[in-house]
Assembly symmetry: none
Homo-oligomer: 147 residues x 2
């Protein structure tokens, strides 16, 4: 709704382009500003926050929260939510990345829980929490560095 009244500005184009070019990474609002800046594109903080809000509301971008007081993470959302019914979501607690995984083991588990434990798992709402490979290696390496 009201999406038709959106102007195509230099800033919005740049922000959306960034997400499309980095579909599997996440950024905070401040990181996004700095990444755009290093690309020669200056965008004000207000604009970034307002644009992110719009993208989140439109479903184009997902918003994650790691810890309070820290900045929220934003990540490009590939495809629509309705396409996420036949697989599970794995969320990395470190970087906030959301992985989509669909395999037979998960299906077996669901069937098992349904038959033996009488519990019907909801695919769409369940998120498995843990640590993804890149973050696990980064943690064991001892330092925090990005790109």
């Amino acid at each position: 709704m009201a999406a038709g009244s959106a102007y195509r500005t230099r800033q919005r184009t740049a922000i959306l382009a960034y997400f499309k070019e980095h579909p599997h990474t996440h950024v905070t609002a401040d990181e996004l500003i700095q990444k755009l800046h290093s690309s020669g594109i200056l965008v004000g903080r207000s604009t970034v926050y307002r644009t992110l809000d719009r993208l989140v509301e439109a479903g184009t971008v997902r918003k994650f929260v790691s810890a309070p007081g820290e900045g929220a993470c934003y990540q490009f959302s590939v495809g629509d939510t309705s396409a996420c019914q036949s697989h599970f979501h794995l969320k990395c607690l470190v970087c906030g990345t959301l992985y989509h995984v669909g395999c037979d083991h998960l299906q077996e588990l669901i069937d098992h829980l349904g038959e033996k434990h009488n519990f019907s798992v909801d695919y769409a709402k369940t998120v498995l929490l843990g640590t993804c490979e890149p973050c696990r290696r980064a943690l064991s390496a001892g330092g925090d560095f990005h790109s």
Copy 2:
């Protein structure tokens, strides 16, 4: 971190008492201050935050994050975290009951995700969402809900 060196003060007693009396509800730091205040107990913000940090670190209380900019939610954690390492939590979305399930299928899934998908699942924080047997039967019985 040493729990042995903890003094028993009026404020800490009141905060812990609140969580024990409301094990199934969650509060933000500010809500906690106000609830204690309405009970005639005045506790400074710093004390509340510091006490909550200790309780979280001790595993007595769990800390949730909903949205950025909003306050974190704290909730009493029944039992200690170490007891929840070898099984998963199943939460019924209908009645809210939290089930503890530990079986080989779950362990296999974890191993599979770790080996094939390079994802290390955190037992303690993951909650499988779905519908439990009693609620499922109640729903299929006629679809009459009362609340």
